[in-house]
Structure formats: C-alpha cells, structure tokens
C-alpha cells in the first residue's frame, strides 16, 4: 500500500502538522495511490461477523486472523506497520502505539450509539474510509460529540484517512443507516492510537 506522495511532500506535510495541532483533526483525501477497487471487491466477497448489541451497536466485523487473501492481508498489515505509525507520529509529534485495528462493514439497519461503555481514552481516533457513494439522507455519518454539543460530522467517503484527537470528553456515534442506503456498503478501518508517554494535548 502506498501513501499518496503529495502527503510526503515536505511543505504539504508541514501544513498537515499545523492543521492537526490547531484543529485537532485532519482529513486526507485520496490517501492511497493504489487503486482500491480490488481491495473493495475482495472485502465484498469476504465473510464478516455480525456484532449486535441493541443498546450499543449493530455492524459487521472482519475477523482479522481469518483473512487469507494476500491483498487483504497487505491492506490490514499496512495499518499496523511501522511506516503508518511513523507517518502518524511525525504528523502529530507524539509517541504513539496502535492499540486497535478493526475493519467494519456498515449496511442498512446498522448503527453505533453513544454509550457509557465507550472507552473514554485520550487517543487519536483514525479512520480509513472505503465506502460506496452515500448521501446525507441515508445516515452513516460518524458524529463526534461532547455532552454539550456535536462537534464534527464525517460523511461516508472513499479513500480518505481522518485523524482526530479524541479527548476523554468526546464520544462518537454512527447514524443509523436507513432504507435509502439499501444495497450500499460502508467499509471503515477503525484504528486507535494511544499515547505512550504522558505527553497529552493541553
């Protein structure tokens, strides 16, 4: 997997660093140079396991230890790689470790609710989105919220990496995918990067 070379350009990278330090969030469209059609086709053919807790979430998840396709293995391993971690660390200026990687599929009737069981960790929430074309009327937006207000909406998109500093007061939900989304699929790689040292953002 190859990161779009525009994001390794020194000047662009400095801009990205500035954005994440000031805005605490950055979205990188066309993140991979690779054509992702093959990955997407293979994901569509791979069995996912349904995860349903009525008070928390409904979606399907890929059992990463049960992936045998070489393209998918490379795709998954990239997000666990030193190269990817280095890219995130250099951008954020923090020592981090990738603590979780999940590949989830969301289709009609899926959702994630705000829940007391959501971890309140201080971390970077990283999402690589590989979704079909959605409209906002279909649901599927990922919403980050504090107890007081909704602070960020991420609509489903394709080949986009989003990095967000998630303080313990921020939770997220994924809006129910309604009947307008019938037949469409959202694939999201959901990654958590935790701080190694006590170098938390003030």
């Amino acid at each position: 997997m190859k990161i779009n070379k525009i994001y390794t350009d020194k000047n662009v990278f400095e801009e990205m660093k500035k954005t994440i330090s000031e805005e605490l969030v950055i979205a990188l469209p066309q993140f991979f140079e690779n054509k992702l059609d093959i990955i997407k086709e293979k994901l569509k053919k791979t069995p996912f396991i349904t995860k349903y807790k009525p008070l928390e979430h409904k979606y399907q998840e890929l059992e990463l230890t049960q992936v045998y396709d070489i393209d998918l293995i490379q795709f998954v391993e990239f997000f666990k790689s030193k190269e990817f971690l280095q890219f995130i660390e250099d951008m954020t200026d923090f020592d981090l470790r990738i603590s979780s990687v999940h590949i989830r599929k969301y289709t009609h009737t899926d959702f994630v609710l705000l829940s007391d069981n959501q971890k309140n960790d201080d971390c970077f929430d990283i999402t690589f989105d590989l979704s079909d074309k959605f409209s906002t009327k279909m649901g599927g937006m990922c919403v980050y919220a504090t107890n007081e207000e909704e602070i960020l909406y991420l609509s489903p998109a394709s080949n986009i990496l989003t990095i967000l500093y998630k303080s313990p007061s921020i939770k997220k939900y994924l809006k129910y995918l309604n009947a307008r989304a019938k037949g469409l699929e959202m694939y999201r790689v959901e990654i958590t990067a935790e701080f190694i040292e006590e170098n938390l953002i003030e």
Binding site: K53, P54, T109, L113, Y173, K175, N178, A179
Partner: protein, 201 residues
C-alpha cells in the same frame, strides 16, 4: 364526560379482569394491547385535529421522528384539551390503575409522526416518575411490511421477542422498568405512522 371517549366495554368488570390477566402474563415484560379503545366517531374527530398540529423534527443517535408539544401546552385546541383532560381524569386513571395495579396522579402526552426511514432504536423509557407507557395508534391501513412495529426485547437485551403492528385506534400499555427494552422499527413505506403517546406518572 370522560366515559363517552372510551369504548364502554372496557369499564365492564369481566373485561377489566381479562385485561389485567393479559397484562400480568405478558412476555417479555408486562404489556397490553387494547383494540378499539376510543369511541370511533370521537377518534375520527381527534385524529383530524391531531393532523393539524405542528410536528417538530427530532434527531439524535437513537432516533429520527417528528413530535408535537406536550398536550398540556395545547390548550387552544378544544377537542385535544378535552381528550387530554379525559385521559388524566380520575375515572380513566383509575381504569388504568385497575389493569396495572399502579397508582397514577398525572400524565405526559404528545403526538408523534414517523415518516419514511424514521425510527427509534432500543431503549427502556426509564425516567423518574414514569410508571407505565401508553401508545394510541392513529395511522390507518398498516401492514407489517410497512415497518414501524413496536418491538419488545428480552431483558438483556439481545433479541426481539415480540413485534406489535400499529393498528388504528389500538392502545398499548406497558410497564416502564429497567427491563422494558423496546424500539420502533424503521418505516419502510411512504405511509406515516402516527401516534398519541406518553406516560402515566
């Protein structure tokens, strides 16, 4: 005045006893379906008045639907005020008390409209003061394929145990508890699911 709204059969001792048995034996938690609850001509008039009300869109992680103000605030509409006053009258609250074996002193009441793709995901309704939830269906000609069923979950909750299709002029009562998990499934047709709902307090 109050009894003219309610189908008189529900004041008969035998009927009440049957309703009480059904309520207490219901699974996964105490609930009751009472068909033909209101007098049919008053129901039609009420339904017409409700259709003229303003419904405000409500949206969160849990739901997407439209709702009116609490009927306590809709004092300018004579018929709705009359219905609200009737529903919270001693005679009607005592009818519900007999069925559910709870004592009530007040009600919260509003109307809701679920349009295409609207939903209300699993929750328990548990808020201090709420003893029993009620829903009166206003929509007509409804089929299971239209969605909008009231789904009742097991106590964990893990799965749906029963699904109630919204039939016009049917009243649902269910006990509010830490196990009263329920949802309104997504509306899958262009029909509107309209209800008067709320809680006996």
């Amino acid at each position: 005045m109050s009894s003219e709204w309610i189908n008189p059969v529900f004041f008969e001792k035998q009927t009440l006893s049957k309703l009480q048995t059904e309520y207490f034996n219901a699974k996964p938690f105490k609930y009751l379906i009472i068909p033909q609850f209101l007098d049919s001509s008053l129901f039609k008039e009420l339904n017409f008045e409700i259709s003229k009300l303003e419904f405000t869109p409500k949206s969160s992680d849990l739901f997407e639907f439209k709702q009116t103000k609490d009927f306590k605030q809709l004092t300018s509409n004579t018929l709705i005020k009359q219905f609200h006053d009737t529903f919270k009258s001693k005679k009607i609250l005592s009818l519900f008390s007999t069925i559910t074996n709870e004592q009530y002193s007040d009600i919260d009441m509003h109307a809701m409209k679920f349009e295409y793709t609207n939903y209300l995901l699993c929750h328990d309704d548990l808020v201090e003061g709420r003893k029993t939830a009620f829903v009166l269906y206003l929509n007509e000609d409804w089929k299971k394929e239209d969605g909008g069923t009231l789904d009742l979950f097991d106590a964990k909750p893990e799965k749906i145990v029963t699904s109630i299709v919204p039939i016009q002029n049917t009243l649902i009562l269910f006990q509010v508890s830490k196990e009263s998990f329920h949802q309104v499934s997504e509306i899958l047709s262009k029909k509107n699911r309209k209800t008067i709902g709320g809680w006996l307090l």
